[in-house]
């Protein structure tokens, strides 16, 4: 039984409202069960960063369905297609149920004792022989808070290595860094309820309709209601939001920063700024004047390829709307000058004083469901609980909470980023790499190089996962992991809402949660605190949560006022939650005081163009004492330009129905059927020039490698090719459809987030198709409904069409 067919009706029926107050979004319960559940277990969806509250239906020890929680502040009962179907993956027959060890080139079944002994012996040997820097950890955006926090202790206080990062580096590193650079610490300023009342929405490189379907439903209910907000969308593809936009800006690849500089230039020129706010609450506007100065709209137009009329229309909305919600996602984070561009979106809000007020905020959106937690817990290249690794007081503070000597913590350099971890592994400096719940063989740029590194004889690769992924197949030790629904822990979404995801069923076979694996490892390694007591004082998730409460107390991400009981009772609580705010706090920075004081800030800041770090004394000399930073940035033209050999730009991205490398979603029949294979989206004119028709198999080549997919001809920007990155080869060995075979090992100098949206390629027809267009049900749905619930009224005709270029 299901409340709606979410595959063909991704966003569900409309419940329009006029936006009278934050949280005024009417409820609608989405439900999908295959059998009548015997009990419902409170949990949260784990298949995007929205973080929808749901109940898991259980019968006879199996998950039989899910339903949205109508009283949840995030989703008001709704669930998207991944949420309604994803749980089916738990019960697939190919789950890993016993540890595997590589023997004679083959992975063979083993026991926990044997596998853990091997890992522990090797860890001890490496630490003794080569030092603590010879061990690295690469984690995920889908574990629970308690697991990340335990990993932080194991890696930083136990081993003492700074080589700890998550695959969240690929999706939200820029979100974190841009918030830190502007506001002093990580942590989203606003709340999803701001969408309910805002007058304008600015989506920058964020295909919300695809990546956060429930949040887009929330926006649609405003767009369809009386008094709809204006919508400005920056995207090179004619995505669903782009087609709904009042103004759609489609910049050429690599020109996000010129676009933002041009828009800010226009705001400054027109005086669409709040001088009082700027004076009282920001520092650095002179720098912004300098860097936006070369970007009048004419030059911006010629560099970005966007007509001046559209730039003017967009700037007017952004400059004059009384309230404004902006969001950035991968179109910013995985493009060139990611941090610099994201910071300009923060600058927009600072210039207008539109932050910390109902209906006004900037979301530096997250990609994965628990990305926020990896960042908070200090296993994603940040120091624990938004502390500053460069501030001796913060280090001492942490050491005190953990009862260890400050010198044991690896704080002499910033935590190593993912790409550097793999480079150190390639160079032989890292000799053991423990990968938890993620799939670098598909998700990292230039995957052929990554695969060669994983297969190196000198590197012991440990992988914990629920399935034998592309990465696990290359591992030396594979640990079967329990996943969502089979373990308990907290998740924090992109608007700081904390949910408790509870264990509903037992894991299959001998599978164990990553928390239990880490606790076992810590015990076998004999990690001790400075009094000779066990370093890790807990044995279960709730204990870990209590530890985290103590660690986060007094920091911006304060969980000290929460408990498992309170989370069960209340369903969802936003941090900070402490004595002052026992029910959590909806918005940060309401008073215009930011976390930039030198005692509070998370870093001393960077040159956002070069990535060079400022030192403590430089920061102290200009301590902003709570003022936000306005940081300008010069444009750096793209390093790889299309040329005769590789004439097209490649952009990679996501489809609605899949998550990451399809480890779960590819195993769910309905989701896999909705998007069964890699596609290559081409502009009709480019396709014609190449002799490619809809449905043809095409080969895309870059200087790094080649990948194949079926052609889909669309209204994408001419000269740009789009491929989803989800398609590895676990379900069809040898298939070359992973878009990351083509991408560049290059990244933003500040956030270290790789450029997935940027590579020069050429496209060739490999084989004729059956002439059938590989459809995207989501797009069809948007196209098929020119009237009715998806109607775009005449007053909402976008400014300018392609013909005005």
């Amino acid at each position: 039984m299901e409340s709606r067919d979410s595959i063909t009706d991704v966003w569900g029926p409309r419940t329009p409202h006029p936006g009278s107050e934050p949280g005024a979004w009417p409820a609608r319960q989405d439900l999908r069960v295959l059998e009548e559940p015997a009990e419902w277990v409170q949990s949260v969806c784990l298949l995007c960063s929205t973080g929808c509250g749901l109940d898991v239906g259980v019968r006879d020890g199996r998950i039989v369905g899910v339903r949205g929680r109508v009283d949840d502040r995030v989703n008001h009962g709704r669930l998207g297609p991944k949420g309604l179907h994803g749980w089916e993956a738990n019960s697939t027959a190919d789950r890993l149920t016993v540890p595997l060890i590589r023997r004679g080139g083959q992975l063979v079944e083993s026991t926990w004792d044997e596998a853990m002994a091997l890992i522990v012996d090797r860890s001890k040997e490496l630490k003794e022989k080569y030092g603590r820097g010879s061990i690295g950890f690469y984690n995920s955006g889908q574990l629970f808070l308690e697991e990340y926090y335990t990993l932080a202790l194991v890696s930083e206080a136990g081993i003492g290595t700074s080589h700890v990062d998550g695959n969240t580096r690929l999706c939200t590193a820029t979100a974190a860094v841009s918030l830190i650079e502007s506001f002093g610490t990580d942590g989203q300023p606003g709340s999803y309820t701001d969408f309910d009342v805002t007058d304008a929405i600015f989506l920058v490189g964020h295909n919300m309709a695809s990546t956060q379907t429930v949040l887009w439903a929330r926006v649609l209910d405003r767009l369809e209601g009386p008094n709809p907000p204006k919508l400005v969308v920056v995207d090179p593809r004619a995505t669903v939001p782009a087609r709904r936009a009042d103004v759609h800006l489609a910049p050429k690849p690599g020109t996000n920063l010129p676009l933002m500089n041009g828009l800010l230039h226009q705001l400054l020129e027109k005086g669409w700024i709040d001088s009082g706010y700027i004076q009282a609450h920001t520092t650095g506007v002179a720098d912004l004047t300098r860097t936006t100065d070369p970007w009048p709209l004419e030059r911006t137009s010629s560099v970005t390829g966007i007509p001046v009329a559209r730039l003017e229309a967009a700037a007017e909305i952004l400059g004059t709307s009384p309230t404004l919600v902006s969001t950035c996602l991968q179109g910013v984070y995985q493009s060139l000058q990611a941090t610099a561009s994201a910071v300009q979106v923060n600058n927009l809000h600072l210039l207008r004083g539109l932050i910390g007020k109902p209906g006004s905020t900037v979301f530096q959106m997250n990609g994965q469901p628990t990305a926020q937690n990896t960042r908070e817990c200090g296993v994603n290249g940040e120091f624990i609980a938004f502390r500053n690794w460069n501030n001796p007081d913060h280090v001492a503070d942490t050491a005190k909470v953990w009862n260890v000597e400050p010198s044991t913590l690896p704080t002499w350099t910033p935590p190593t980023d993912a790409m550097s971890i793999f480079r150190y592994a390639e160079a032989g400096a890292i000799r053991m790499l423990w990968i938890m719940g993620t799939n670098p063989s598909v998700s990292l740029p230039e995957v052929e190089r990554i695969n060669r590194i994983l297969e190196r004889d000198e590197l012991l690769t440990v992988v914990s996962d629920a399935w034998l992924t592309e990465t696990a197949r290359r591992a030396d030790v594979v640990l079967p992991a329990a996943i969502w629904g089979e373990k308990t822990g907290c998740t924090t979404n992109a608007d700081r809402t904390v949910h408790l995801s509870q264990k509903a069923i037992a894991p299959p076979g001998q599978a164990r949660s990553d928390l239990d694996i880490l606790l076992d490892y810590a015990e076998r390694m004999g990690f001790k605190d400075k009094d000779g007591q066990p370093l890790i004082k807990w044995t279960d998730a709730e204990g870990a949560f209590e530890g985290w409460k103590a660690c986060s107390k007094g920091r911006p991400c304060d969980y000290s006022g929460m408990s498992y009981a309170k989370l069960r009772e209340r369903g969802a609580i936003q941090w900070p939650c402490n004595d002052e705010h026992p029910d959590g706090k909806e918005r940060q920075y309401e008073d215009g005081v930011f976390n930039t004081a030198k005692e509070t800030c998370e870093t001393y800041g960077h040159d956002i163009v070069t990535g060079a770090a400022f030192e403590a004394n430089e920061y102290a000399a200009m301590d902003p004492k709570g003022k936000a930073f306005i940081k300008g940035a010069e444009w750096v033209p793209p390093p790889e330009q299309p040329d005769d050999s590789y004439p097209l730009f490649l952009s990679t991205g996501r489809v609605t129905y899949h998550f990451h490398s399809r480890t779960k979603t590819g195993r769910v029949a309905a989701l896999q059927a909705a998007a069964p294979e890699a596609i290559v989206e081409l502009h009709t004119d480019d396709a014609r020039a190449l002799g490619v028709a809809d449905g043809d198999l095409v080969t895309v080549r870059s200087r790094r490698g080649e990948a194949q997919g079926k052609a889909r001809l669309t209204g994408i920007e001419p000269g740009v090719v789009f491929m989803p990155f989800h398609y590895g080869d676990w379900d069809e060995p040898g298939r070359k459809s992973a878009a990351n075979r083509l991408t560049i090992s290059g990244w933003d100098p500040v956030s270290k987030q790789p450029f997935f949206k940027y590579a020069a390629v050429r496209v060739e027809r490999a084989a004729s198709g059956d002439g059938r267009r590989p459809e995207d049900p989501e797009q069809v749905q948007a196209d098929d409904r020119p009237s009715g619930s998806h109607r775009r009224g005449p007053e909402r005709e976008p400014v300018g069409t392609r013909s005005d270029r």
């Binding site: 820097g133 300098r290 032989g428 040159d607 070069t610 060079a612 430089e618 940081k631 270290k752």
Partner: protein
């Protein structure tokens, strides 16, 4: 924190106000000298940044930003154009001497990266100091245009220095504390484009390039049937192969240096009256006249090198060939000069290939010179 407030009373959008005050000639010469040093230093730093980017190509952390910074240095060279127009430019050897002293040898792995970064910081300091000198001078000269250029230039250079320091911070712990195995770190630090000239270490490039120079000169001479390959070409070939960055290997130094040496030798012989003394290498007799001729000739060679800014130590070999009597006729002199010319042209080519670096943006520029096209092919892949 990169805040650099606009000077009071000036809109940053206004074009720079170039000073209109007349400049006395002595001041002009002074400034021209510092402008020359700065321009030379900027060129050296820019090339060095690209060189380091190419050497550590697999490390995008270095490769990406070093390339961007090289582009900034090129912009700053262009920023100097009005100053050059106003004060002139006197290029000195100092920046090139500095370049010749750094970035050499075998540089691979994390330790090699650390060494390269240290060298970059030395070059960046040189640029920073030169900008500071002009910045301070511009105030006294009341030259607002130069002041604005220097302000921008210093901003860029400070950011280079800060970036280098950040990279050293990140690299040092790994480079010093971790015993990486030599084989894999060599593989990991090898550039992706193995055909890149910048990837070839000095101990391999030096012998090959020097031998190549002698080989081609020799083959040309054989084909022409003339004895153009003479002893004093040896040291020139060695210098061009081993120290291509050094100013004494410039084409001017090499050709004018040998010509000067030749003339100095003949003058020495004349002044010493040793025209008819025995030939040292044939007769195995050394006369006081030959010694005196050599003394005078060497002094004149060095003097000529200094006056013509064409110092080239191998020219002293030419001088002694003459003063010791091995080279006596106009035909002999012509043979030597042709040999020097052939070698100098080849050396210029070899040096261009080894030393000249282009940023990726320049590499992709649609109108390529012959050399650029050659370099582009070199570094494709």
């Amino acid at each position: 924190m990169t805040v650099r407030p606009t000077p009071p009373g000036r809109d940053p959008a206004d074009p720079p106000l170039w000073a209109s005050k007349p400049v006395p000639p002595t001041v002009k010469d002074q400034v021209a000298g510092f402008v020359g040093t700065l321009k030379g230093s900027l060129e050296v730093l820019s090339d060095a940044l690209i060189l380091v980017a190419e050497r550590h190509e697999k490390n995008y952390e270095i490769n990406g930003t070093a390339t961007v910074l090289a582009g900034w240095m090129r912009q700053d060279i262009e920023r100097l154009a009005p100053a050059i127009e106003r004060y002139g430019i006197a290029e000195g050897d100092q920046p090139r001497k500095l370049r010749a002293a750094v970035l050499g040898g075998v540089r691979g792995g994390l330790a090699g990266l650390l060494a390269d970064l240290t060298d970059l910081s030395v070059l960046a300091e040189q640029v920073d100091m030169s900008w500071t000198i002009l910045f301070q001078g511009a105030k006294e000269l009341e030259d607002d245009g130069l002041l604005a250029a220097a302000r921008e230039g210093r901003n860029h250079t400070e950011r280079v220095v800060r970036w280098v320091r950040t990279q050293i911070d990140h690299t040092a712990p790994e480079a010093l504390a971790v015993g990486a195995d030599a084989d894999s770190s060599a593989v990991a630090s090898m550039p992706k484009g193995l055909d890149r000239v910048s990837a070839i270490p000095d101990p391999i490039w030096g012998p090959l390039a020097s031998a190549f120079l002698i080989l081609v000169t020799g083959v040309v001479a054989l084909l022409a049937g003339r004895p153009w390959l003479l002893p004093s070409l040896g040291p020139s070939a060695v210098l061009a192969g081993e120290m291509p960055a050094h100013p004494v290997t410039r084409t001017w130094n090499m050709t004018v240096g040998h010509v000067g040496g030749l003339i100095a030798g003949f003058v020495g012989v004349l002044l010493a009256g040793a025209m008819n003394d025995p030939i040292v290498l044939v007769d195995h007799v050394l006369t006081p006249g030959r010694v005196l001729a050599s003394v005078i000739a060497i002094a004149l060679t060095v003097l000529a090198g200094a006056v013509l800014r064409a110092s080239h130590p191998p020219a002293a070999a030419t001088t002694l060939l003459v003063s010791l009597g091995s080279l006596r006729t106009a035909t002999d002199a012509a043979n030597l000069l042709i040999g020097v010319l052939v070698l100098a042209i080849l050396a210029a080519l070899v040096r261009e290939v080894r030393m000249h670096r282009v940023t990726p943006a320049e590499r992709m520029a649609p109108r390529d010179s012959l050399v650029r096209r050659f370099l582009r092919r070199e570094s494709a892949g």
